[in-house]
């Protein structure tokens, strides 16, 4: 019984100490010229294979700011301001994202946040606006921007517009007089389904035909049935809004079953992870990307390589999500530099003055205005090359059709 009692006691101590940890010093705001930002990343849990690079990128930029500039940013209107960062891993659990945000808002009085997934951002959406915390998300879900003037931002176009770029590209790829036959394959979640309606509508507008609309979950062992359906429907192009692991399964089964179509995906669908997983099967896969890849000669990549070498020397190369994280942190700091007041509303106002802001080429130039919180009008296209194990740059694309203009207004 003694054993049990000591264990009970130690459990109690653990709980009490955990509770004590919940009550840290609230006295951070004592020094007038300090601002705190929050980073709620997904280092572990579902989607963390990409999420950890993004979160690392943002974190490393702030660590660099701390080490190199003593954490101080020279602002335009408020003089030097010290930047502090608090961060948390939400394990891709929206409840934890919300708790972390509430904690940071109440205890650290954060004036800006950087976040990851679609589910998490939908869960904190109301809270972000209630607490006036401008939030830069890695999810480009159109639903995040459906209330104009809210506090949600992201640095690319919406997934809807990504999808439209792919549809445009299919049209330009297609040879001959026939109508291109297009299939959709998405992840069964808000993330996956979000660009489906826009994609279908746009396809119809351009006079193309959707021959299939499928869903492929993240943990599948086999995608043969989907592949067979596409083959039977005679799909020539398949558009994906999915993640790397099920895609690699799909591509292998597609090759095995002789589905000869062109595969195209959105941002998180496939980059280096897909090449790594699917190897030769991923060759020729076309993907949109908001950020540049590791190997390109752009000024921003020098910073990115330095940050990675300094703070995570074990990682040899990083996928574009890392650059995306760095760029997101740069944007938030730039918002601070232009802020009229040192609070969330001020930083939101600062962000909304960004006009073609250049992050050293890491992402396309970013423009935010009071009623436009999706930072870019265009997106980068890459083709996966299995021989060099790199992504070949195709170009910069904006949605062309009639519907495109309306979407960019958001």
């Amino acid at each position: 019984m003694l054993r049990a009692r000591t264990l009970g006691a130690s459990l109690l101590v653990l709980v009490v100490s955990a509770l004590a940890a919940l009550v840290p010093a609230v006295a951070i705001g004592a020094e007038a010229r300090t601002v705190t930002f929050g980073l709620i990343g997904t280092w572990t849990g579902p989607t963390s294979d990409a999420g950890r690079h993004y979160a690392d990128g943002a974190l490393h930029y702030f660590r660099w700011l701390q080490d190199e500039q003593k954490g101080t940013v020279e602002t335009q209107k408020l003089g030097p301001v010290r930047v502090e960062l608090v961060w948390s891993d939400d394990q891709y659990n929206p409840q934890q994202t919300l708790s972390a945000l509430r904690q940071f808002a109440s205890q650290n009085r954060i004036a800006g946040a950087i976040t990851w997934g679609t589910g998490a951002n939908l869960a904190i959406k109301e809270e972000v606006n209630r607490a006036h915390i401008p939030t830069l998300s890695a999810s480009f879900h159109a639903g995040l921007l459906d209330a104009p003037g809210a506090y949600n931002f992201f640095l690319s176009m919406t997934y809807d517009d990504h999808m439209k770029v792919l549809v445009d590209y299919v049209k330009s790829l297609h040879k001959g007089a026939s109508t291109p036959k297009v299939g959709f394959n998405v992840h069964p979640s808000p993330y996956g389904r979000s660009p489906l309606a826009a994609g279908r509508a746009y396809l119809q507008e351009l006079g193309m035909k959707a021959v299939a609309s499928q869903e492929l979950a993240a943990d599948v062992l086999d995608a043969t049935s989907q592949v067979l359906e596409l083959r039977r429907a005679g799909a020539e192009y398949v558009l994906f809004q999915n993640v790397a692991s099920p895609l690699s399964v799909f591509l292998r089964d597609a090759r095995r079953n002789g589905l000869r179509a062109t595969f195209l995906g959105i941002h998180y669908a496939g980059g280096e992870e897909l090449l790594h997983l699917a190897g030769a099967n991923a060759d020729g896969f076309i993907t949109t990307s908001a950020a540049r890849t590791w190997y390109e000669e752009i000024p921003g990549n020098r910073t990115v390589h330095q940050l990675n070498a300094r703070y995570s020397p074990d990682e040899k190369a990083r996928p574009p999500h890392y650059a995306q994280g760095v760029a997101t942190a740069m944007l938030l700091v730039e918002g601070l530099r232009r802020a009229p007041t040192l609070d969330g509303a001020g930083i939101k106002a600062g962000l909304e003055t960004l006009r073609n802001f250049d992050t050293g080429g890491l992402v396309l130039p970013v423009t935010f205005t009071p009623d436009r919180h999706a930072g870019a009008d265009a997106v980068l296209l890459y083709r996966l090359n299995a021989r060099t194990k790199r992504l070949d740059y195709i170009g910069e694309f904006a949605p062309r059709g009639k519907a495109a203009g309306a979407a960019q207004g958001r």
Partner: protein, 349 residues
């Protein structure tokens, strides 16, 4: 007024059914409720939010404990049932219903869903039933993901803040009182339900449903009743959660949540109201405490932050395993020991 009992003086059945053995009990209970009511005066916003979260999970855990702890039907679907309540509340509140109508109606809707998924309990038992309720979880989760409020498969739903005429409930603190009042109501209802003929029938079914049937308990009806009451509780909890977060989205109501619910009743104590309360509090605060602790540590030592972040899972698991290995009867048992120790102090026996 009796403040201390030195033996068993029960001579009537009514004595056995008393909630409080001494007059000290109601006093203590009043003090606890008063303390909880004063809590927001002493705490910051975040801690008030956490306290609300605990209250919500207390209500849900009472529900699951009624079904699993008292009636013996294991459910792996309560996470999804909570989602049904949350979506129903969101839809009803969006249609302009006040919270005092939306919440009970959401509870009833969830109860109806609970009954439907409780039908397999007619024939299926034990672990097989647990996995049949897993099917409920999977099916409902699938349905949530399809829910579409604004087109495009967004599957999320915005929930307006509750209000009373002339009394806005917009702040987190006001919501805390709503949660606290509901939680007190549900605790009171649970305690009284368990000492009624319904409660005794539930326990009889748990112990042996054939014996219960032989004694004249309509087993299937009572099982469905347990399913519906239990779903009602988590439904209301889901509704409160929807009000607290302002948004309902499918990704919260996963199998993980159902498992968390089970963890709460097991760690707390099966079939015990006190256990439900303690278990919900511990299992809500422990992951949150671990998160805050890991974050604080990794901010002190950014070099090893990835290790600390991974350790959160391991520590959580170790606490759960350690707890069950050393304290398999749950916190309720520990509570009983502490209480009798205090009662008998300074004597050991």
């Amino acid at each position: 007024m009796r403040f201390h009992v030195c033996g068993t003086y029960r001579t009537r059945y009514e004595d056995d059914l008393r909630v409080f053995a001494t007059d000290l009990g109601p006093l203590c209970m009043a003090a606890v409720v008063a303390g909880l009511a004063l809590l927001p005066l002493a705490l910051g916003d975040y801690l008030v939010y956490l306290a609300s979260l605990v209250g919500i999970f207390v209500i849900g855990t009472l529900g699951l404990n009624l079904l699993t702890g008292s009636t013996g039907q294991i459910s792996l679907g309560h996470g999804a049932f909570m989602g049904v309540g949350a979506y129903a509340t969101g839809i009803l509140a969006g249609a302009g219903l006040p919270f005092w109508l939306a919440l009970p109606l959401a509870g009833l809707a969830t109860a109806a869903v609970g009954v439907v998924f409780g039908i397999p309990s007619l024939r299926v038992k034990g672990l097989y039933l647990a996995l049949a309720t897993l099917a409920a979880q999977v099916l409902l989760e699938f349905a949530f993901n399809l829910y579409d409020s604004s087109g495009g498969g967004t599957s999320y739903l915005r929930v307006p803040r509750p209000s009373l005429p002339g009394l806005p409930l917009a702040s987190d603190r006001a919501l805390y009182y709503l949660v606290l009042a509901s939680a007190v109501l549900f605790v009171w209802a649970s305690v009284n339900l368990l000492r009624s003929r319904f409660g005794r029938a539930f326990v009889a079914i748990r112990d042996n449903d054939r014996a219960a049937a032989a004694m004249g308990v309509p087993v299937f009806g009572y099982k469905l009743l347990a399913f519906s009451l239990s779903a009602f509780c988590v439904g209301v909890a889901g509704g409160l959660w929807a009000y607290l977060t302002g948004v309902v989205s499918a990704e919260r109501f996963t199998l993980m949540l159902s498992v968390e619910y089970l963890a709460m009743i097991i760690v707390g104590g099966m079939g015990s109201v006190v256990g439900s309360v303690l278990g919900a509090a511990l299992m809500t605060l422990l992951p949150e405490g671990l998160r805050v602790a890991a974050d604080a540590l990794s901010q002190m030592m950014p070099q090893v932050s990835s290790v600390l972040i991974g350790l959160r899972y391991a520590v959580f698991g170790l606490v759960v395993v350690g707890f069950l290995v050393f304290e398999p009867e749950g916190l309720a048992d520990r509570w009983r020991v502490v209480k009798s120790y205090v009662n008998l102090w300074p004597f050991r026996y």
